[in-house]
């Protein structure tokens, strides 16, 4: 499975909308087997979507993301795992092992079911991932 994560140094980029570096990782057998970085102009959605499509990314892990951008990205058939914060490598390894990423949730993340619109879906998916 190909997983992408917007990164800022060794951490998850705080806001996907203004991110500029994409870490693309190949996950197999519960571990990260390959990784590389792709760079794009901050805030330039077409370029980000082009990379996601070309690289056949299946899951995009990111920090905060606006509803508008989340809606657009989901049209690329990408599973979005948003509103995470922390050490990129640690989160990626945790995800690869199929373990809960809930501990990396950003402050204010409302997984209790009170969220609305895309947050409901995003959080539900994240909750599913958390339960794996």
């Amino acid at each position: 499975m190909r997983v992408a994560m917007t990164v800022w140094g060794d951490r998850i980029s705080p806001v996907l909308d203004s991110a500029r570096t994409l870490l693309i990782a190949e996950v197999a057998g519960g571990q990260v087997v390959d990784r590389r970085l792709e760079f794009f102009a901050a805030g330039f959605l077409p370029q980000l979507m082009q990379i996601i499509r070309q690289q056949a990314v299946e899951v995009l892990i990111c920090g905060a993301v606006s509803q508008e951008l989340a809606s657009c990205i989901e049209t690329c058939d990408v599973e979005l795992v948003p509103f995470l914060a922390g050490d990129a490598e640690l989160i990626l390894e945790t995800f690869a092992r199929g373990q809960s990423v809930a501990v990396f949730a950003m402050p204010g993340c409302r997984c209790s079911g009170k969220c609305r619109n895309f947050m409901v879906d995003a959080c539900r998916r994240k909750s599913d991932l958390c339960r794996q």
Partner: protein
């Protein structure tokens, strides 16, 4: 100063910080949040208890965090920055435009303890600015429908292609919004976007608007006037209601599109044009071609990329989303605090057929805003035309292949006429009957037969405007 004064001062500071409407937070040297006031909680949607101790970028989530952090510059250079504009993403995933000021946080001994950042929600200002400039982003088109999501999915490729685009869709479906989004995503986004409604103007006026004219071209043309092709140079020109243009105009437009040159009225020189044309129509152009009402060669010339916007009745899943956006927008524009819409009113709006599409829905919400004060929007705040229509009533154009039931078509028209008359006469039944040229008992019989329910508001005390 005695120790008691320090305590009072500290309490006073806290009261002030909690009472102001600007968000304020402080960080230590490791960028961890050490204080977070009430307004900061409101603007970010993050409770103080969750914010304290976290890295500021995990809480503040601004587009400046990664690249050009004002607080970082302040800490590095030791100077304050005032009113930098940026945006944050709040806990609901909404982009909140804010203005930010930063300064060093020092103790009484002038020792730097960290930094302080104050921020103000400027959504209202931005909304007004956008209203004035007519600027639209892709973000203005939010949808859950699969058709719309498909359009969103290919939009950036369409935008980058530079090809001519044909947008079809009923009135009020957002053709101009889509055209603006294509422009904003395209390499031409820093050049002008110009729109013209071709169906609203006679040929000669349309030509002079589009191509401009030279002084003396006709009576009253005292000096040169550049046309919209020139105004949109390097940018995008939206030709709306293309299906309503005359064959003569279609020939001229075809020539401009093929040769990329145009000639102002009264001029002898042909001017080069670098404009991307987007055509829009609420009619079925291929059908018009078949009927000989639209030139086939022009149709093929503009139909390079074809986007069809679905009517709102075919994307009902978007209705709650759109209502939320309209309510939030009107709250900001009118400084109101309407919480939303109650379930009954929502159910009614979900059933409506929206012949006027998104524009009609926006008008309905605006109507409700006038009547609802700061209450939640309920059925009593909706226009009578929505409330009185029997459940499941469909008021839409009948398509060519659809079986037409004359009786239901007559009932539909009769319903509309009666509702309009009732609204016109302030729901005074007697005045309405008189207006419609029938006896009051006949009106009541018709209301019963059509299944129309009258509002609680009784218009009997209201005198007819004609009386």
């Amino acid at each position: 100063m005695n120790p008691g004064d320090h305590r009072i001062s500290s309490i006073a500071n806290e009261i002030i910080l909690e009472s102001i409407s600007d968000g304020v937070f402080t960080v230590d040297h490791e960028w961890r949040i050490t204080s977070f006031n009430r307004a900061a909680e409101e603007i970010t949607g993050i409770p103080r208890a969750e914010a304290i101790g976290r890295y500021c970028w995990e809480v503040f989530r601004s587009n400046m965090c990664e690249g050009d952090c004002a607080l970082k510059r302040t800490m590095k250079e030791g100077k304050s920055f005032v009113n930098s504009s940026t945006y944050i993403v709040n806990s609901e995933g909404r982009r909140i435009p804010i203005s930010v000021s930063t300064s060093l946080l020092k103790n009484v001994d002038d020792r730097v303890l960290g930094g302080v950042e104050t921020f103000r929600d400027i959504s209202v200002v931005e909304e007004l600015r956008r209203e004035l400039s007519g600027c639209v982003q892709l973000g203005d088109m939010v949808s859950r429908s699969s058709t719309m999501r498909h359009i969103f999915g290919i939009l950036e490729q369409v935008a980058r292609s530079g090809s001519t685009v044909l947008i079809e869709g009923e009135t009020g479906t957002g053709k101009e919004v889509l055209a603006r989004a294509i422009h904003n995503l395209s390499p031409r986004h820093e050049r002008p976007f110009v729109a013209i409604n071709c169906g609203a103007l006679p040929d000669t006026l349309l030509e002079s608007e589009l191509f401009g004219y030279k002084a003396g071209a006709f009576t009253g043309a005292e000096r040169d006037k550049p046309g919209l092709f020139l105004a949109a140079e390097g940018g995008t020109l939206l030709l709306d209601e293309m299906g309503d243009t005359s064959p003569a105009f279609q020939v001229k437009l075809l020539r401009v599109l093929e040769e990329r040159e145009f000639q102002p009225l009264g001029g002898v020189e042909r001017l080069r044009s670098d404009v991307r044309v987007i055509a829009a129509t609420n009619r079925d152009l291929s059908q018009l071609v078949g009927e000989g009402m639209f030139r086939r060669d022009l149709f093929y010339r503009i139909n390079i990329i074809h986007l069809k916007l679905p009517p709102l009745r075919e994307r009902r899943e978007d209705i709650p989303l759109l209502i939320d956006r309209f309510v939030a927008r009107m709250n900001r524009l009118r400084d109101r605090a309407v919480a939303g819409i109650d379930q009954e009113a929502m159910a009614l709006l979900m059933e409506h057929s929206y012949p006027g599409n998104i524009r009609e829905l926006e008008n309905i919400i605006e109507h409700a805003f006038v009547l609802c004060g700061n209450e939640t929007i309920g059925i009593r705040h909706l226009p009578a035309g929505i409330v009185l229509l029997p459940r499941g009533h469909v008021d839409r154009p009948v398509s060519a292949g659809e079986a037409v039931n004359l009786e239901s078509a007559v009932s539909s028209t009769e319903t509309r006429v009666i509702l309009e008359a009732l609204e016109r006469n302030g729901y005074n039944r007697r005045a309405t009957a008189k207006d419609l040229g029938m006896h009051t008992t006949t009106l009541f019989r018709r209301l019963r037969r059509l299944g129309l329910q009258l509002p609680e508001r009784d218009g009997r005390s209201v005198r007819s405007p004609k009386n």
